[in-house]
Amino acid sequence: MTRSALHAEPNRRDLLKGLSAGVAAAALGGLSPAFAQSNPYAGLKGEPLELLIWDGGAFVDNMMASVQAKWSAVGGGTLKFRKVPFGDLDRAVRSANQGGAGPDVFLANAPNVITYKKLGLIEPVTDMFSKEDLEDFFPTVRLGSEIDGEFYGPSTNENGQALYYDRQLTDRYGIKLPETLADAWTWDEWLRVFKEIQAGERKRRGNEQFFALYPNMGNTGLFFSGIFPRSAGGKGSNAWKMVSDDGLKSSGYLNSAEALQGLQLIQDIHHKHAIAPVSTQKDMFYNDQVAFFCGVPLYLAPIKKARPDIDLATAPVPFIKTPIIHTGSFAWLVNRQTAKMGDAKLFVKFMGSPEGNDVVARGWTSPPIRKSMVADRPEFKTKPMALFIDSITEWSVPRPKVPGFSELDTMWSRLEADIVSGGDVKALADDAARRIDAQLRRYA
């Protein structure tokens, strides 16, 4: 490795930077005396950091610009970005250190943390967070990043799930939908409503291409559709677990009798009930072509922008037996091979702090990762956001914790697409489980 040695002596420019950081810290300290007493970012060198993130266009760019501003304010250096398409993120992380110095910090899909830990790609940051910090995180934020007692990095945000819909539409049919988790409906109850609304709207619009539900499948892997088999089993059942406790086996879990029921439902909503389009385009709800849209809070703002005319409402996600949603998002992780370990760790600490996370969570129009931050914001106490928050606290679980999550997710997507296309569910699930096991075995 031809990486230049660590700067033992700060040069003049670093000194200047440190000075300005000190000024900034002093300024902040002036506002908050407690902060001035113990600067949590002491030791920050202000080195430029390189981040590996996925390319989310202007959306991510704007957010990261705000992060940069705040990071500079606490004395951090410039942030450089290495951007890859979302679908290529896992490969980019795994091959980041091949061919020379990799980026200092990864923004990775959170369930991959365990994989990257197994492959020795990331450095724990447990020492950056106090016990209070960890307890302040939502449970899934902490659980998702905690392996063998070490914490590897906070998420960017939290992600509840709910069904978006236009209240005018349900009013037209005089249907009263559940508003809170306590009143949540099962799929059977929903199906009746879905069918009724779809039939009525098709007739009214004279358009056979209007659908009841966009379940948000395709390209998003386990996040949305993985809850179908999981919710078919009781809490703690094999179907609910999806993989064995050691994370190395899916046979008997993913293809258990209960799970098959959930998988069958995926097929049925497309074929037997025909209430969901097979299209993989995300735009159908935005463009008034489906009645219900299963999504995360992130969609709130764009939908409001695209459909200012509708009375946007949310309802709890349907379930079969056990209500469940997947949470967890992207996690900030420190590259184990970074030459700027100190600053990189501090950056991750910063991103897990209320000030750092606030920028990102707001940028994402999503709940933040700390309970305390939710408590501070009144908009989280009213609908629609309140439902997302509730789903996080009451229903949420991290995605299945397996080494090789990416492999699992790839095969899941394939299984899901095959099921949607109308293949034999049991045969497909058996084959998928067998193949997933073969891949997971490599991590044993």
């Binding site: 896992d90 490969r91 795994r94 091959s95 091949q98 994989t115 197994k118 492959l119 020795g120 790609l121 056979e208 291409q209 659908f211 389009p277 097979v278 299209s279 993989t280 385009q281 735009d283 159908m284 072509q289 080494p403 090789g404 990416s406 492999e407 790839t410 997507s413 394939r414 697409a417 095959d418 949607v420 296309s421 109308g422 293949g423 497909l428 193949r435 891949q439 490599r442 991590y443």
Partner: protein
């Protein structure tokens, strides 16, 4: 320049001065150098690397952890999915090659005259080539969407049922192959155009005097004389059909239920989604061998035994 004429002195000097002649490796090497260096570095080395990789076991981070001998080959060959993928790749060639050749030949025959209008149509036939694969694939994804795509709008508009292009087996196969043929017909046409222009006009004239009608002329003179172009076009089309990847990657991901699970896609997935480099490399080499066998067979069937004088 005066030179000693003694035989011994001359022999030595000749060896030294042989650079003056077009003989021997010395002077050729100067000109071959760039190509040779590239050939070795970026064609042969990767093959060697692939062979080396194929004999190893790798952890999911891409680190070699063990030697596997021929286990990876055995594993790949005994995997029903890969067997199916190889068969699909072969089937893709079996369908694509004749269709593409027929279309390319028809286009070449239609557009062989050198008029301005023909030049324009020729340019249009070639145009998919330079619109780039990612973009064209994305355009196709937009056109062929089951619910909001223009193609289904047309179908339903003229009273035909909508087709779930990407989630029904035969239509998905049709789409992937169709996209590939659509893109590559231009190349085939160019090959045939060149072949047609190489046929001396006297031969056709002679055949016409010998009593050949337009059909007889085509089947007894034009087609046989295009044999070399045929060979070249078949090889190119076969290569292309074994390399169909981006459409599968962007549109179908091998599905639905394995209908487009081509060997090339499996190799990509094994290497870049599962990071099973050993297996992926052995799969690559197996596909390469398969490709060479297929092309060798084709060249044997299409052997050309005549030449123009």
């Amino acid at each position: 320049m005066p030179h000693p004429t003694a035989a011994s002195g001359r022999d030595i000097s000749r060896r030294n001065r042989s650079a003056a002649f077009l003989e021997g490796w010395g002077p050729a090497l100067v000109f071959l150098c760039p190509a040779l260096v590239m050939l070795c570095l970026f064609k042969l080395w990767p093959i060697a690397e692939a062979i080396h990789t194929s004999t190893g076991t790798f952890d999911p981070g891409g680190q070699r952890i063990d030697t596997a001998g021929f286990d990876n080959f055995g594993f790949a060959l005994s995997d029903s999915r890969f067997q199916w993928g190889l068969w699909l790749s072969l089937a893709a060639a079996i369908v694509k090659v004749p269709v593409q050749l027929a279309l390319g030949l028809a286009a070449a025959l239609m557009l062989r005259a050198n008029t301005g209008g023909n030049a324009l149509v020729r340019a249009m036939v070639i145009s998919p080539m330079f619109f780039g694969l990612p973009v064209t694939t994305f355009v196709f994804a937009y056109l062929f969407d089951a619910n909001v795509g223009a193609i289904n709008a047309i179908l339903s508009g003229i009273g035909l049922p909508r087709v779930a292009w990407l989630s029904t087996e035969a239509p998905a196969q049709l789409l992937v192959l169709g996209l590939s043929v659509w893109r590559d017909v231009g190349v085939t046409m160019l090959v045939f155009l060149a072949g047609l222009s190489a046929i001396p006009p006297q031969i056709a004239a002679a055949a016409r005097l010998d009593g050949a009608g337009p059909l007889a002329l085509f089947f007894t003179i034009t087609l046989p004389l295009l044999a070399r172009s045929f060979q070249f076009a078949v090889v190119l089309a076969t290569l292309a059909s074994f390399q169909i990847l981006v459409p599968v990657l962007m549109l179908t991901k091998g599905g639905p239920t394995g209908a487009t699970d081509l060997a090339s896609f499996q190799i990509y997935e094994t290497a870049f989604s599962y990071f099973d480099l050993g297996t992926a490399s052995s799969m690559s080499l197996l596909l390469l061998v398969g490709l060479i066998v297929v092309i060798a067979l084709e060249l044997r069937w299409l052997a050309v035994k005549w030449t123009y004088e």
